[in-house]
């Protein structure tokens, strides 16, 4: 008698490999992934859309997704992802490079995108297709920026305008002034992107450059300048703030909200997605929201520097980002026209407004703040919703969108430890880079210059430098 297991082994292997005929339910269905917090909203909207467009033949299925994890899920197996998905805009370059996105070519849709959005967003939703032509790949519909949450019981509205005021309040309360929600390259943008405030209270001078003018073909990574005197002065401000007993602290390992709740800090620099937790930490009535404060440089901050002067005022900056809808490249070709129609609807001003009133998604289109004021005056949104939107849209004016139009730049900025170097510099701890080069101190001017050079080099080359140029600052 022959070994029966071989039969079974073979049979099972065949079964393993043989289940290849997949039935095609998806042919007449368009699947949409949206942020998990607003699924119900978009389901209702999609119903309205179907009613208004009787000729729209496809069924539409809306599902919730962790938008932060979406890009990873999509690149791993695009064919299992939705036809229309949503991601934060800094993933666009990566998704296009990984053959996960189709360009948006419908004239009406592209027109709408170009008409509605501010230039800053328009420049980051483009990428090159395989033939080398620049195309629009994404439709913005939510804007996101960092701003300040503060505890009204201990901080007055006036104190919340400056970091000095925050520190004063913290000294009175015997605690630390402010914290962040994470120490990554997005959350530290409040200090990386700090900008000088002019006498008129508006932006004066330029902030640092990160990939400015980079091209989507990846041939040019643009210019980065992270070695200016103002950057050093800002870093020194952070260095003295973290040493200050009533100054800055990194997010607690228990989570920033515990610090906020227990008066471990009086303020938090966070985004709209932290609203629920912030509210729960101090109570809605005690929760203040405003711009990221300003700070004034001291003599110590500017020691040895020429481009900055004692008394200069800077405001914390932010990455001002958008969430976008994109079309999956693995989606069936014949759905393309309808998909674009749906994207046009989902990213329209009207739906953005409704989504703000309904689920507090701050609209991305240009001039949204006027509309938000109208909605507030018409009592369609609550006071804190209004404050949140106002703080965020005002702050967006002080920020720049993450300029990561290719996957490379995104990888270099986020995965290559530059933010860890920055953290080490703020903490004054040393940072091991390569076997031969070590930032053995990050407190002296020379140490700071080396550190900033290392970061800039990392952003541009994806690795740490093996040696430092003779005369810093030098362009990488």
């Amino acid at each position: 008698m022959k070994k029966r297991n071989l039969f079974l082994a073979a049979a099972a292997s065949i079964a393993t490999l043989g289940g290849l005929v997949s039935c095609d339910d998806s042919a007449n269905k368009i699947r949409v992934w949206v942020g998990e917090e607003s699924v119900d909203f978009y389901r209702t909207k999609v119903e309205e859309f179907k009613k208004a467009n009787a000729d729209f033949t496809y069924e539409i299925e809306v599902k919730g997704m962790d938008t932060g994890a979406a890009a990873g899920t999509i690149t791993q197996d695009p064919s299992a992802a939705a036809d229309i998905y949503t991601v934060a805009h800094d993933n666009i370059g990566k998704l296009v490079a990984a053959n996960c996105a189709k360009p948006l070519m419908d004239t009406e849709l592209v027109e709408q995108i170009n008409k509605d959005n501010p230039d800053s967003f328009k420049s980051v939703i483009k990428s090159l297709d395989a033939s080398g032509t620049e195309r629009v790949y994404a439709a913005p519909y939510i804007s996101q920026a960092l701003f300040l949450y503060y505890n009204k019981t201990a901080v007055t509205a006036e104190q919340a305008q400056t970091f000095e005021g925050l520190k004063e309040a913290a000294a009175a309360a015997g605690t630390k002034a402010w914290t962040v929600t994470g120490d990554d390259g997005f959350n530290n943008s409040f200090t990386v992107l700090a900008r000088k405030v002019g006498a008129d209270g508006k932006q004066a001078g330029t902030s640092v450059k990160i990939y400015e003018g980079a091209t989507s073909d990846g041939k040019s990574k643009g210019t980065s300048n992270f070695q200016g005197d103002d950057t050093i002065a800002s870093l020194r401000f952070m260095q003295r703030s973290i040493k200050d007993n009533n100054g800055f602290k990194w997010a607690s390992s228990d989570g920033w909200e515990k610090d906020f709740k227990n008066n471990g800090v009086l303020a938090v620099i966070g985004g709209a997605w932290h609203f629920n937790s912030a509210k729960a930490a101090v109570g809605e009535a005690n929760l203040g929201m405003t711009l990221i404060p300003t700070y004034t440089l001291t003599a110590a901050d500017v020691a040895g520097l020429t481009d900055v002067a004692e008394g200069d005022v800077y405001r914390g900056g932010t990455f001002a980002d958008c969430k976008v809808f994109m079309i999956n490249a693995s989606s069936k070709a014949d759905k393309y026209v309808s998909e674009q129609k749906l994207v046009k609807f989902l990213s329209s001003k009207e739906v953005q407004d409704a989504s703000f009133a309904d689920v507090s998604n701050v609209p991305a289109y240009e001039g949204a703040s006027t509309k938000i004021k109208e909605l507030f005056d018409a009592k369609k949104i609550t006071e804190s919703q209004y404050q949140l939107a106002a703080a965020q849209t005002d702050m967006a004016a002080w920020g720049i969108p993450q300029p990561f139009i290719t996957g490379t730049l995104n990888t270099y900025y986020y995965s290559k430890n530059a933010s860890q170097i920055y953290k080490a510099m703020i903490d004054g701890s040393k940072y091991p880079t390569t076997g031969d080069t070590i930032l053995d101190e990050t407190t002296s001017l020379a140490g700071i210059r080396k550190g900033l050079y290392t970061m800039e080099y990392t952003w541009m080359h994806g690795k740490v430098p093996t040696s430092f140029p003779e005369n810093l600052p030098t362009k990488a």
Binding site: L20, K63, D66, S79, A80, D254, E257
Partner: protein, 312 residues
């Protein structure tokens, strides 16, 4: 510690006294240990019943006070009715999914473990030692490195990454959980090794086939180890929060298991930390059936070992 204070009693009285002392010490140790063991669980349970408000806002975050200021069932009510990831009544669905996965996994895994363990312990055949060595070597590779490969192999069978019919992904998950179970036969084999070979030999002399011996002699004696294996494989799916998400897919929250769901609620990319008390309530609900099962079955588990006809 356990027997040292009972060293060679000289006469009955001092022995009795020494026994009493040692018993008291034992109680003390056990009670202290029990308290240490219980604290984290008590904390989770208390958190799940916490019902505090700050200025009208429900506080669902972690708090540093061990004992809540107010108690209530709000978290449980919200947990069962809330919509997570756009799935209405997501939690009960996740529970049901997990229950199904756990039951099927339990049946298949236990069967596979028993059959392999029996072969390894009581049958002599070519390649037996080779098989044992190979399985051990394979077991040394960290599993999740193969996660992506398993995902695509299952996808080839339509059992993962299937967005048309995501329920099939659950089948894939069961398969992935239970398929490898047979390779974890070592404990059951250790148990079978204690069953005297003479029982098997005499049955063979009576003309029993190996199949009959397995069914009629080994299985009845193996009750404790069956229960042990069943318990282990039943509880596995309630605890895995990484593999299950990959196989079922982040985009199919309605098919998630409860561990994936609960973990994602609190540790997603933009977690809502205000859901912590609901998370705790979920934890209590998840732990209840498994714990009850453990309490109910531990008697079989521990005493079953002695009850069998194993004692030589």
């Amino acid at each position: 510690m356990m027997n040292s204070n009972v060293s060679k009693p000289k006469h009955y009285r001092s022995q009795k006294k020494a026994n009493a002392v040692s018993l008291a010490v034992t109680y003390l140790i056990l009670i202290v240990m029990s308290i240490i063991w219980l604290i984290p669980f008590v904390w989770v349970v208390l958190s799940s019943f916490r019902c505090e408000y700050v200025d009208g806002t429900f506080v669902g975050t972690v708090t540093s006070n061990f004992f809540p200021k107010a108690l209530g069932f709000t978290n449980y009510k919200n947990l069962f009715t809330a919509t997570y990831y756009g799935v209405s009544h997501a939690f009960p669905r996740w529970l049901l999914n997990t229950l199904i996965v756990a039951i099927v996994d339990c049946i298949i895994s236990t069967f596979l473990v028993l059959s392999v363990a029996y072969c390894m312990s009581k049958l002599k055949f070519k390649l037996r030692k080779a098989f044992m060595n190979i399985t051990m070597i394979i077991g040394l590779f960290p599993g999740f490195l193969s996660m992506i490969a398993i995902y695509f192999l299952l996808k080839s069978m339509g059992l993962s990454g299937n967005s048309d019919n995501p329920t099939l992904n659950i089948v894939g998950l069961v398969l992935a959980y239970s398929a490898g179970a047979g390779l974890g036969f070592q404990i059951a084999k250790g148990f079978f090794d204690i069953i005297p070979n003479s029982l098997v030999e005499s049955a063979k002399l009576d003309g029993c086939s190996n199949f009959k011996i397995f069914i009629k002699i080994i299985i009845p004696l193996a009750k404790p180890i069956i229960i042990y294996q069943a318990l282990m494989s039943f509880t596995g799916p309630w605890m895995d929060f990484i593999f299950a998400k990959v196989i079922i897919g982040s985009g199919n929250p309605e098919c998630w298991t409860v561990a994936v769901g609960l973990y994602s609620l609190l540790f997603g990319t933009h977690p809502d930390t205000n859901l912590f008390t609901q998370f705790a309530a979920g934890c209590v609900i998840v732990s209840l059936p498994i714990t009850t099962l453990f309490m109910f079955l531990q008697k079989y588990y521990v005493e079953g070992v002695t009850a069998g006809a194993v004692k030589g």
